[in-house]
């Protein structure tokens, strides 16, 4: 692939993919680790774009999971995404199986027994279901059966459970479901943590946004040597808590919005040959996100033609 240089001969802007342990991640991962250590059950909610999936990934990668050559496998934290458009319990069973690696095809009745055995033999201590808002009633019933089987002889393993869901409109997923008088839900409800059964992890305050901007300064200093983002914490916070980006009026900023704004502004400045970024550029990018986010762009010509351009038609 050709490495296109920018106008001033610099190499293209490089987006850094490193995981940033933000204040949200600290709050979120503290809950996950608590569930892991105390083997407690929680429903954990946060608005979309908060960084839940990244946080889960960071926890499992650093959980000490390993497959040794002597046949010992350890998977202390097992995390899967809730199956989409697959309501049957088998779909969740398949997702859980796949977390262990290559598993030969087997009958579902055999697989549900096998799952309990392999979770016990790999010393699973905590189960995290991401996108848990997509779980169906059969999925939840299967989760209860699986954890009950693990808790019973011969395994006798209590495991933590975190149903991590995206929420909106100040509604916490499962709260109403588990309040249902049906036995299954009462049993589920009984297993939830006594002190913090339903948790909503909030986004970033202005101070926390300032800390993240400081981290961005460090990460991108090699490409933009004079970069100073901290000074723009207040306007950035104001833009990103605009009603269109914070419809539930939480007054907090998500990492997704913050990253999009900063990266977009940094890329634009870099491509203009700048060594820093100014408020005008940041504001322009914020306007794109807030005011013009639903605009439709017409794409014409071909990428090889100099006249290739996009025209806003919305």
């Amino acid at each position: 692939m050709t490495n296109h240089l920018s106008q001033d001969g610099r190499s293209p802007f490089q987006v850094q993919e490193s995981f940033i342990e933000t204040a949200f991640e600290q709050r979120f991962q503290t809950l996950l680790r608590h569930a892991w250590q105390a083997r407690s059950w929680h429903v954990i909610a946060a608005v979309p774009g908060s960084g839940k999936s990244l946080g889960i990934n960071d926890v499992i990668v650093n959980s000490g999971a390993r497959k040794d050559a002597n046949g010992t496998t350890s998977l202390p934290v097992l995390a899967v995404r809730a199956p989409k458009n697959a309501k049957q319990e088998q779909a969740l069973g398949m997702a859980l199986s796949a977390s262990f690696g290559v598993v030969p095809p087997m009958d579902w009745q055999l697989r549900r027994v096998w799952l309990a055995r392999v979770m016990a033999s790999t010393q699973v201590e905590c189960l995290i279901i991401d996108d848990a808002q997509d779980l169906t009633l059969p999925h939840l019933a299967f989760l209860k059966e699986l954890t009950d089987n693990l808790a019973a002889p011969p395994y006798q393993r209590q495991i933590g459970l975190c149903l991590v869901a995206a929420n909106g409109g100040n509604v916490v997923p499962f709260k109403e479901t588990f309040a249902d008088p049906e036995i299954l839900w009462r049993q589920f409800r009984r297993r939830l943590d006594t002190e913090r059964p339903f948790c909503v992890v909030l986004g970033h305050t202005m101070e926390e946004v300032r800390d993240i901007l400081t981290t961005f300064e460090d990460i991108y200093r090699s490409q933009l040597p004079d970069l100073k983002l901290r000074a723009f914490a207040k306007p950035i916070f104001t833009w990103l808590t605009h009603q269109s980006l914070d419809p539930d009026a939480t007054g907090r900023v998500t990492m997704d919005h913050l990253t999009r704004l900063v990266i977009s502004a940094l890329r634009h400045s870099y491509e203009q040959g700048e060594t820093s970024v100014n408020e005008k550029v940041l504001q322009g990018r914020a306007e794109f996100m807030i005011l013009r986010r639903d605009e439709i762009t017409a794409i014409d010509g071909t990428s090889s033609q100099p006249s290739f351009e996009a025209t806003e038609v919305g």
């Binding site: 497959k67 050559a69 690696g101």
Partner: protein
């Protein structure tokens, strides 16, 4: 071989939940059954997983004809190597594939040239102590375990012939009554039989480590020379040249009271004149007759 696979590595999702690593002198089915056992699967699961999808051999024959497990033409050993994150070399070492190809210089069914045991047998002690199925179990002349000096067993106490794999059995158990193979009878082997089989194994080891088509031809000529010298009519040229497997050749060599050293000397540069019955003590350090000693 990768000692430890971490979750962040792509190999995590390309390997079995539990990995096993072949041991020294372990036979391929032993690795497959240990893999089944470690992963809580029934017997035959790992075997089926590495079976070539387009083979034309019946399932029954696959499970009973041991030639497919000695030189596994229908098994994807490279796939097994990926599934266990173990080098292909270590997997191939659980078969006689590379040895037989080298000895016979032929890729066409070299297992037929080896001469295999007609039934699956095992040492209950090896099972009990190490969960081990040794490669030597398939060799025709071997009927006892030299390490534990017990007879190899080919039948369960219920009378059923042992089968390496069976779709309804748990790993290392009788498919009919479920008895674990480690609980099969431990029958002591006759010391004279142990001594004889030690000689067979020395020859097998000799050919597996040094064997070439030239050495094999030389061993056959040694037997022919010997037959001519003794004016024996039983062993015709055709029998020795074409009709004999490696196991038969070794049987004849051992029963002719030859040692691997005799074969080496016969294959050497000097004409062989019944060296076996001569006293020869050459002081020269480079004497070819001293070759095998060194």
């Amino acid at each position: 071989m990768i000692n430890r696979v971490r979750l962040a590595q792509p190999a995590w999702h390309l390997t079995f939940p539990h990995r096993v690593v072949p041991r020294q002198d372990e036979w391929l089915p032993g690795v497959l059954l240990r893999c089944d056992e470690a992963n809580h699967w029934g017997s035959e699961t790992t075997f089926s997983q590495i079976l070539h999808p387009h083979h034309d051999i019946s399932h029954k024959k696959l499970l009973t004809d041991m030639s497919h497990l000695v030189v596994p033409s229908v098994l994807r050993l490279d796939h097994l190597s990926d599934l266990l994150a173990v080098s292909l070399r270590a997997i191939v070492a659980t078969t006689y594939q590379s040895e037989l190809v080298r000895i016979f210089s032929s890729s066409q069914s070299p297992s037929q040239h080896l001469g295999l045991s007609h039934s699956f047998r095992l040492c209950p002690e090896c099972l009990a102590q190490h969960r081990m199925l040794s490669r030597t179990l398939v060799l025709l002349n071997i009927t006892c375990c030299l390490e534990h000096q017990v007879m190899l067993q080919d039948r369960c106490t219920c009378g059923a012939a042992l089968q390496v794999f069976h779709p309804r059995a748990q790993p290392f158990t009788c498919y009919k009554c479920g008895l674990h193979w480690e609980k099969l009878a431990h029958r002591p082997a006759d010391p004279s039989r142990v001594e004889l089989e030690q000689k067979y194994l020395s020859f097998y080891e000799f050919f597996f480590t040094r064997g070439t088509p030239a050495l094999l031809a030389s061993a056959r000529h040694l037997l022919l020379d010997d037959a001519e010298e003794k004016e024996e009519k039983v062993m015709t040229h055709d029998f020795i040249e074409k009709g004999s497997s490696l196991s038969m050749l070794i049987y004849l060599l051992v029963n002719g009271n030859y040692s691997p050293r005799d074969v080496m000397v016969y294959a050497g540069p000097l004409p062989w004149r019944s060296l076996k019955w001569l006293t020869f003590d050459c002081p020269a350090q480079t004497c070819p007759y001293r070759m095998y000693d060194e």
